[in-house]
């Protein structure tokens, strides 16, 4: 919650600043709104004039008909134009704002996305933008025209009879005051209701993403209970808001009726005493009806503005965030020589990696082993530049990792993630994910990952769509597609995160042989659980509780590291079957 407070204090440019690039459209919008509403004010006058003319016996149909019809059609035209401009302006503001946010996000680092939380960013891009859209679509035009109508109607009322006019206008501060008081109370409820909606969404999201587990455990009732609590709270808040608003509407209607009564009693007096015509009296009633609606509109719109301002504040946090700037310029080809010097990574108090140092020679095969949560994945993230080191240096060919241009660097380092990440695209697009992939390297990657037969068995081959989260593929198939994705960039360095965990031993050994054959000179850093498969590697690094316990060849570690020996022994009984 803290960052929210500081951001609010920082006084970001108001939501109105968003409108600057659209000043032409906004002006048009306001213009059309003013024209149609201004002309609307004229209609009661025409009617009043008609009645008076009739009372004085000089009523003529034709001029009234023509005037009235013409004004109505012009109002129709302007209202229609206003609607069109309004739609285009608001949708354009929303589209451009979304593009700006997405552009900003796309330039951010992995750490930023994780910290900002993907689901919060989703809210920024959807509901927050929507509330700004609502502001543009409704608030601007209606507030400007409401103010215009209030002022216009007031002037006209005062012009007809200033004493009666003043008493009628008195309803504006009364209604405004009632609104202010209710709105102030409702505001905190609105905030609570926003929180409850977030809560509801969280339960819904988890129940959808965890649907399989929920069905295995049969905990649907539990999920429903969780949902029910949130839903019930949402209902209670809704009813509390309603109770407050419940007072507002009767007060407004009653106040307006009192004004009508005043017009009758006082206006009647003026008509009887002859200081006012019956037509003016009728016009007074019409203007009163005109006056109430804009007051209501301003009240409701002030709420729309408040919500848009809050949304814009949240969006500004993303837009104003420090950009991840590309500083690297090196595009030289990587040899595979890597050195880590006293590298540490920590998140706040918690250390993920402590003082790690090792060297990798070009073309070497390195294994990283260690227990769960030792920091193995973090080490790979570090090597790909997904996360920065808190201290220490990571050198590729003697140059710090940040000195390399991202595009050049990532096209030489392939990474196979531990978790299956499939995009809802064709298999071809999932594998040739980087745009530098040629058909030839695609073929080679597919063959190396032992996917040729599998893809051939699909009716649509490479063009088969992978459904979201890759549910239609088995774990091993997803893993091999991810490997092909990493190989398709023709990497100099390949990072595997527990790749063998979901691939059967037979396929695994085939794949590793394929890599040796098809990608000669590749530097391989592999996080794995199985010692047997990596015994012959040039270097094995043992991580435990964020620290590098030992590093060296299998032989060296067997002699020097009791922890390594323990892991080795834990696999002994079956290790002969692993090859």
């Amino acid at each position: 919650m803290k960052p929210d407070v500081t951001a609010q204090k920082k006084k970001s440019p108001g939501v109105f600043s968003l409108l600057k690039p659209y000043s032409l459209m906004v002006s048009l919008l306001v213009l059309f709104a003013l024209l149609s509403n201004g002309l609307n004010l004229w209609l009661p006058k025409l009617i009043g004039g008609g009645i008076d003319a009739f009372n004085h016996g000089n009523f003529a149909y034709k001029p009234l008909l023509i005037k009235f019809t013409a004004v109505s059609f012009i109002i129709f035209l302007f209202t229609y134009l206003q609607g069109i401009v309004q739609t285009y302006t608001s949708e354009r503001v929303a589209r451009d704002l979304r593009t700006r946010i997405a552009l900003k996000i796309s330039e951010q680092s992995f750490a930023f996305i994780e910290k900002a939380n993907p689901s919060k960013l989703l809210t920024n891009l959807t509901s927050d933008v929507d509330s700004i859209k609502l502001f543009v679509a409704q608030a601007i035009a209606s507030i400007v025209s409401s103010i215009f109508i209030i002022i216009g109607a007031s002037v006209l009322l005062l012009g007809i009879n200033w004493k009666l006019g003043l008493t009628t206008i008195a309803i504006i501060p009364i209604i405004g005051g009632a609104f202010y008081i209710v709105m102030r109370k409702v505001k905190s409820l609105f905030k609570k209701s926003r929180e409850v909606i977030d809560w509801l969404n969280k339960v819904i999201n988890e129940s959808i993403l965890g649907s399989a587990l929920i069905r295995v455990i049969n905990s649907q009732q539990l999920e429903y209970d969780k949902f029910f609590d949130a839903s019930n709270r949402a209902k209670d808040i809704g009813l509390s808001i309603l109770r407050l608003f419940g007072w507002l509407i009767p007060i407004i209607v009653f106040t307006a009726n009192m004004a009508g009564l005043t017009i009758l009693a006082l206006g009647g007096h003026y008509v009887i005493s002859g200081s006012m015509t019956i037509g003016d009296f009728a016009a007074f009633n019409s203007y009163l009806a005109l006056l109430i609606f804009p007051i209501l509109v301003i009240g409701f719109m002030s709420n729309v503005i408040a919500q848009a301002t809050a949304s814009f504040g949240r969006i500004s946090q993303v837009l104003d965030a420090q950009e991840f700037t590309e500083t690297g310029q090196l595009t030289s080809s990587l040899s595979g020589r890597i050195e880590l010097r006293n590298v540490s990574v920590s998140y706040g108090e918690k250390a993920a990696l402590k003082d790690i140092s090792f060297r990798v020679t070009p073309g070497a095969k390195i294994a990283v082993i260690g227990p769960t949560a030792a920091g193995k994945t973090q080490l790979l993230y570090l090597l790909t530049g997904l996360i920065p080191a808190t201290s220490g240096e990571i050198l590729y060919d003697g140059n710090p990792i940040v000195a390399y241009q991202a595009e050049s660097f990532h096209s030489q380092v392939g990474f196979v993630f531990q978790d299956s990440i499939m995009f809802n695209m064709s298999i071809r697009e999932n594998i040739a994910f980087s745009d530098t992939v040629t058909d030839e390297s695609l073929e080679k990657a597919i063959a190396t990952a032992e996917l040729t037969d599998f893809i051939a068995s699909l009716a649509n081959g490479l063009n088969t769509k992978v459904s979201e989260r890759g549910l239609s593929l088995s774990g091993g198939q997803k893993q091999r597609i991810m490997l092909a994705r990493a190989l398709a960039v023709d990497p100099k360095i390949l990072l595997l995160d527990d790749f063998t965990a979901r691939v059967d031993p037979q396929t695994e050994s085939k794949i590793l042989a394929n890599i040796n054959r098809n990608y000669r000179g590749l530097t391989l850093i592999s996080v794995t659980q199985k010692i047997a498969a990596v015994q012959h590697y040039q270097q094995i690094i043992l991580l435990m509780q964020s620290e590098m316990l030992a590093g060296g060849t299998h032989q060296e570690l067997m002699e020097s590291s009791p922890e390594y020996v323990q892991i080795f022994n834990s696999q002994q009984s079956t290790s002969n079957y692993e090859l």
Partner: protein, 587 residues
Amino acid sequence: MNYNLNSLPANEVKHSTWGGLKSLLKLVEQERTTIVVAVCAILLNSTLNLLGPFLIGMTIDKYIQTKQYHGVLVFSGILFAMYSVAFVSSYFQTNLMGGVGQRIIFELRNSIFNKIQQLPVAFFNENKAGDLISRVNNDTDKLSQFFSQSLMQFIGSIVTMIGAGIFLLVINIELGIATLVPALIILIFTRGISPWVKSRNALNLKSTGSMSAEIQESLNNFKVIIAFNRRDYFKKRFDIANKENYRTAIGAGLANNIFLPVFGLFSSIAQLTVLSFGIYLITQGDFSVGLLVSYLSYATNFYNPLRQLASLWTSFQVALAGWDRISQILSLSNNLVTVFDHSAEEENPPLMEFRNVHFGYQGGFEILHNISFSMQKGKTYALVGPTGGGKTTTASVMARLYDPLQGTVLLKGRDIRSYSDQERAEKIGFILQEPFLFSGTVRENILYSNSRYHHFTNQQLMEVLEEAKLEALLHTFDQGLESPVESGGESLSIGQKQLIAFMRAVLRKPELLILDEATANIDTITEKLLGQILDNLPEETTLVVIAHRLNTIENADDIYFINSGEVTPAGSFKEAVDKLMNGKRLS
């Protein structure tokens, strides 16, 4: 059953406003009494408010025109009393109707969630998570906005309109009819154009759904986007979705904005009709100036709510479009029904038995071909085989996440379909390949839906964990049981998630425990510990282990080899190894 919401047969997708309205009204049924009271309040309130102009008109004719100020004051007093009553009835109207709206949306929200809970895993596999979330959150929100904000105005406006219409007709039938003709034109226009407006809004909601699905996918997989330097991919895909959303939003916006100017135009025409026809009637001696003034008020009272209805109609169309998308979900039913099994109980039946089971996913090829095997109580079985061979599918059918297309699955000699979900879930534990954690703490996750230990204190729970030898697994978590788990468990490593899923399943003490590569990302030393924990389970627990690592299956009593949808007993461990190492891959 086809669960893909975006390709449901066309006849299930209703497009008529009234059809949608009817099904919406079903939700209202239990609120009947409140609605009746509320409508009475609305009627009273509207009548009082409508009588106002009539009395004002009378006052003008009887007293102002004749210059009797005393009468004006008397009528002012009457009006004051009326308005005071209206104040109270208006308060009740708002509260009662608003309460109905809130409760309806509450019921609706709950029934959608409840429905989603009832649907089988297949439903979630056939729809994108992002799209489902958008349907439940965004579309329900659209309905909720309608119910909480617009419904009351909607009903209020209709009642006021009807009241004003009656007054118009009663005061002077000819003038009344003339005044109402423009309204009839509006009605015809609205009826004609509404389906089109609604379909525009439906398109917009759909593109909003796919846009949020797109954002969700990209943001959740952002590390791949960075590691493969495809920031442009995110931008490009988002741009396409954003542009599509813009296009449909403009379409919907333009359609929605048609009502207001048309309604405005016809209400002006109605006023003009009243004025000119009214004056004509006065000249004929059938009407008075006072009545004309109040008549103009009634015309305003009729056409102003109508104009309000124009904007409400838009939110009504949006709500209906959302309702259609939601009712698509509500129209689905669970295809995993409970059946009655009348076969006689056998003596000592196998715990799990497959009899000639065939299975394939919806719209796909058959994956399991004519599988038969049986598993005895207390034994340990290993399912091995190449990736994509059908191991996970077999396990999913065992846990009845799906029903076979042909053949029978028997649990303890009875058709598995004859067990209630509750019974089955108690008997079968299934640790899924991809562990899922709920946001909260480690404790909440390992005790998820566990009634046995739910109320235990941390200390009591630690004793239980120690007894089950699970306690050592907590060491990888900084704050033990109280370690926080963020949404989706992003802060934890996959190995840690697997440990939590393991503890969760073991603490439920199932009779049949299926581990689908449940320890794949856990180091071998910890895995040994898991092995000991499994050994420590009650003797009658049957284990089914799917794994690639051979050490995890060497203690199996029986090994099945699964490849290309066929299950064959592998015999001894040595034979299984030979098959795995040298067997010809068929997939």
